[in-house]
């Protein structure tokens, strides 16, 4: 269970990115965080693992108050939170295997990481995960040789090898084509349910959020303006989150998806319109 209480973040430039966000995410829940650019989505998930220090408020994972941890304890707590990034953020010049194993860095010492002497169990687990995400033959390739979808799969494996309780996912599909986006979202959601993982997924694409998440949180200017099920996203709600726009097409597409199987065309339609 992750609990955020009155999380505030003011950047040194004076921008108020978060204005008191409170959320509770039970174990195993996949939550999609939507909102316009600059709404504070990235800041919010970075305040949880403190890649960005929150100005005030608290984030609690299980019994651990993340916001009050010392540097050493914070590193131990970060091992419990896997993170997946927008542009994959793989170390480009390392191999796929090294990238996956980097998820275990919190568990090994300095010289072990220097000589890449990871415990045999970790290596076995890395092979299992690469197999699970369908990249077994790529293990020895360098990360910059892979396609976008493949890189994001490596990113997912890197997050999962931490054996996290929570996944923080920052725009996983922003640099991917519509089909790969859906495959990646499906993979993340499958893995979450296999392992009973909670996840916070920042996502621009309302359609994808509605298709894959069980709960949607809408963020506008650092405040939660919607928190509810995917089918509660009416044109009024979307207008409230994003501002005035014709939302009928977006919502229609989701309804079609639920009725029949017109999704592929809807996705294409939406991308065309964007």
């Amino acid at each position: 269970m992750l609990r955020l209480e009155a999380l505030h973040k003011r950047y040194r430039t004076g921008d108020q990115a978060l204005k008191g966000v409170s959320l509770e995410i039970p174990d195993g829940q996949v939550l999609a965080l939507i909102g316009p650019s600059g709404a504070g989505k990235s800041t919010l998930i970075r305040c949880i693992n403190r890649l960005v220090e929150p100005t005030s408020g608290s984030a609690t994972l299980g019994d651990t108050n993340l916001t009050s941890l010392s540097q050493g304890a914070l590193r131990a707590a970060r091992r419990r939170m896997g993170m997946i990034f927008q542009e994959y953020a793989l170390v480009e010049r390392l191999t796929v295997m090294e990238n996956v194993l980097s998820g275990r860095l919190g568990y090994v010492g300095f010289w072990q990481s220097w000589f890449r002497r990871f415990p045999a169990d970790d290596v076995q687990e890395a092979f299992r995960l690469l197999d699970r995400v369908g990249l077994m033959p790529m293990a020895d390739k360098r990360a910059d040789e892979l396609s976008g979808g493949q890189r994001q799969r490596v990113g997912i494996a890197r997050a999962l090898i931490q054996h996290p309780e929570l996944l923080l996912v920052d725009e996983p599909t922003a640099s991917l084509d519509p089909k790969t986006s859906r495959q990646i979202m499906r993979l993340i959601c499958e893995l979450c349910s296999e392992r009973g993982l909670a996840a916070i997924i920042n996502i621009h694409d309302v359609l994808l959020a509605q298709m894959f998440a069980e709960r949607i949180v809408g963020l506008r200017l650092g405040e939660v303006v919607y928190d509810g099920p995917p089918d509660g996203l009416t044109p009024e709600v979307l207008t409230d989150i994003y501002g005035e726009e014709d939302w009928e097409a977006t919502i229609e597409a989701v309804e079609e998806d639920e009725d029949g199987d017109a999704v592929e065309s809807a996705v294409v339609e939406k991308t065309g319109a964007a």
Binding site: L51, R75, A76, M81, A89, V91, G103, G106, F110, S113
Partner: protein
Amino acid sequence: MPVLSANQGQIWRRRTSRTQWAIWASWLVGIAIVGYCWKLVSDRTVWFFVTDAGTQAADLASRMVPPKWSYMDVLWRPVWDTINIATLGTVLALAMAFPIAFLAARNTTPNSAVRAFALFVIVSSRSINSLIWALMLVAIIGPGIFAGVLAIGLRSIGFCAKLLYEAIEEIDAKQVEAIEATGASGGQKLIFGVIPQILPTFAGISVFRWDINIRESTVLGLVGAGGIGIQLDASISTLAWTQVSLILLVILATVVVSEWVSAKVRHAII
């Protein structure tokens, strides 16, 4: 980029007329300065020596040919020394430049005081020519190859550390952030996040500086710091011009070979 309003609508010009006049004026001042300096230099030149230069050069050239090929037997050893000075000096410089670069880079330095110290080391190393380093070191530790190696090393620290810390500042921060998010320690962030990104640059800097050092170490002998410069100095002092021409040819060949090697290595890395 001014847009003027006229009867026919809007007119666009690259510059305002004020800017244009200012540019003309600065050209005029610039040319006047060049002309004045030319006159100063010309007044202080003994033109007889200049007009005589062609004859003198031809005379020297005639005394230089043919190179005294048999002198090569004496030169093998100093050539080997020269290459060793350059190589060991470069290794020494890289060993010291690597940590200094991390202390000097804004994104990896522990604090601003350490950064200022590292930048001071870089600047002082760069501001002194290797020949001057060699002069001082010969005075301190005596003439010989060791002084040469130290001179090359001290001179190269700044160069290597500067290029390296600029590379460190330009890395992709997202890759480091991703490593940090796994719970990695500071040292592990360097190993997994930073070093892989700068390794190609590091290799490139190494061969580039080695290539420069080959050239620099050929003159160190002039002040007694070992290498082929000692023979060059001796040959010039005794007016043995056929030996001088051979030495110049050998230096040329060494530099060409080092250029070729470093080009090959750089090509292989990048």
